[in-house]
Symmetry: C2
Subunit: 336 residues, 2 copies
């Protein structure tokens, strides 16, 4: 595969899965202490992978779930947030400005924070009550896996996710499946990037548990890392404005999920097939998950799209644009 090391990937998978016991212990401690609601708090790419989980939880738990912007929360507070809450944060670098400020603010207020921290010894680690070491060098799917372990163990403890043991045992097989998905997607990624990398404007669509994926790839990858202009819109909102922009030469990328909201994606698909010649569908259903029960597929669908888009498609954009994924004009280049 293009600019990809399978051994490192499988090593990242191993490093991630071996945190299972640690995460479950944290979940058990949280359950023992008790809590009345859960707040996901982050910014950018990290909050984007919390949204899919929040969307899933609407269907799965009686625990009230809130997802808030780190930068806003420290200014406004939130009436539902209290010392009875559990705050979940994540930062790959461990020093994301807004997230660190929010963690400090939580600590001052006596709110309990559990964090996924990608870099040891960083401020977020020091400010968190519990730390989940996110040891994988890269791969959004590994963050999903850790969040799944934490959240679904908490639900299991609350007798809301009885399939937890089976789910988490099967999670170990996810990376080898994602690796196979990447390989299968390789020619498609090449073709999409070759065909569309010069497009001046790109519409990305998805919904529910896939919305965070669409948001993440369009804003944090195409905009931030490739300086490509995008518009992201949810499948449920597509027909309330953005549809009017569709013409036969306007590229639309639809990321289809496998949950109950899939019919909303299908409605967008039907429409776009008729009105643009530049229509790309990324359907997680096309990728097999061997050794994983079908009932878990809708939960794992965001990990499939992440592995295809954030890793593979981004690399192929880079190949054709010649624009290094690490190049930034502004981000973290100076203070603003």
């Amino acid at each position: 595969m293009w600019k990809f090391d399978e051994n490192i990937y499988l090593e990242n998978a191993r490093l991630t899965y071996e945190t299972r016991e640690e995460i479950e212990k944290i979940a058990d401690e949280i359950t023992e202490e008790g809590f009345k609601n859960i707040f996901f708090i982050s910014v950018g790419g990290s909050i984007a992978i919390m949204w899919p989980i929040q969307e899933m939880l609407k269907q799965l738990t009686d625990i009230p779930i809130f997802t808030e912007q780190a930068g806003e929360l420290v200014l406004t507070g939130h009436k539902q947030l209290s010392s009875d809450s559990i705050v979940i944060m994540a930062s790959k670098s461990g020093d994301t400005k807004e997230t660190v400020a929010a963690a400090e603010w939580c600590k001052e207020h006596g709110y309990r924070v559990v964090s996924l921290v990608g870099t040891p010894g960083t401020p977020l680690e020091q400010l968190s009550r519990w730390v989940i070491p996110n040891k994988a060098k890269n791969g959004v799917e590994f963050e999903y896996i850790q969040l799944f372990m934490l959240i679904f163990k908490l639900l299991n403890n609350a007798e809301e996710f009885p399939a937890y043991e089976r789910f988490v045992n099967q999670l170990e097989k996810l990376p080898e499946n994602l690796l196979r998905a990447k390989k299968q997607f390789e020619p498609t990624a090449d073709e999409i990037a070759r065909k569309y990398h010069r497009e001046p404007y790109n519409i990305w669509v998805g919904d529910g548990e896939m919305w965070g994926e669409v948001y993440l790839f369009s804003m944090c990858i195409l905009e931030e890392m490739q300086w490509v202009r995008t518009k992201a819109v949810s499948s449920s909102e597509f027909f309330h404005g953005t549809l009017e922009l569709i013409e036969e030469n306007v590229p639309v990328f639809l990321v289809k999920g496998e949950g109950k909201r899939r019919v909303l994606d299908e409605r967008v698909e039907k429409f776009c097939k008729q009105h643009t010649k530049k229509f790309v569908v990324i359907d997680t259903k096309d990728y097999e998950l061997k050794g994983i029960d079908d009932e878990f597929r809708w939960l794992l669908a965001p990990t499939i799209s992440s592995t295809l888009l954030v890793d593979r498609l981004a690399r192929y954009y880079e190949k054709y644009t010649g624009h290094d994924l690490d190049l930034r004009r502004y981000y973290r280049q100076f203070n603003y």
Copy 2:
């Protein structure tokens, strides 16, 4: 003013304010019946004006508030939604497909719906337990006024918004202030539209209680009614991707609020002033609200931006593009 009838506007204001007693009676009935949380459920422009209120309520009430897409909810349900909830919906036409389906679904499940209905005798009216007639022919501010009356009366009944009487008395003076704001904005609207109506891509930014405004104007007005390409991003997220697209010829429109999140807008402002020559700031603070206490300004800021953008700026775009605001390629033109 360009294509504007002051008398109709003031008549719409009168028709709206005279629903005060009816709305307060509904709020009192709801309080008497009791409820454990509030769900805002709608789609498109109607959900966009619920988001600002949800953002305000994070700071103002212990009542858990949720805002959900009508089209998603009927597919997935939501574990927090029950017969103990109050569902608030809105539809100008009264027959918005997704909203009507959600109202039917709520009725089947025994969930109590209170609706703002713009057109009498329509399906949403028939499916709602309580109906607030939204008699104003147009003007998003009038929908805000009715939602404010309902929500803040509910909060007042819960002893959470003691200033209610003063607030709602002063609300009567809002339309005359908004009318003055429109007049003040007139030359600016003309200038913005003249200068930017041909731009191939426009970034719109705002945050918190102004986010719904940014979302609404960019998607439901510029995209839907003018076929103009936009990207909307919150001030808190701007620095996590979209900033990299800024160049001196990329137009950025910032809608500044007056609440605690204003510092996030100021951060965007400082950055954009340095990096694009096409930078427009819409600041509600520039518009006086005579007879209204300063402490209420942050709550009313979205009504100011709505009156300036959805009404005035849209009309001036139409003037320069020559594209009738009522023209659609697809929306409601056929089934999809």
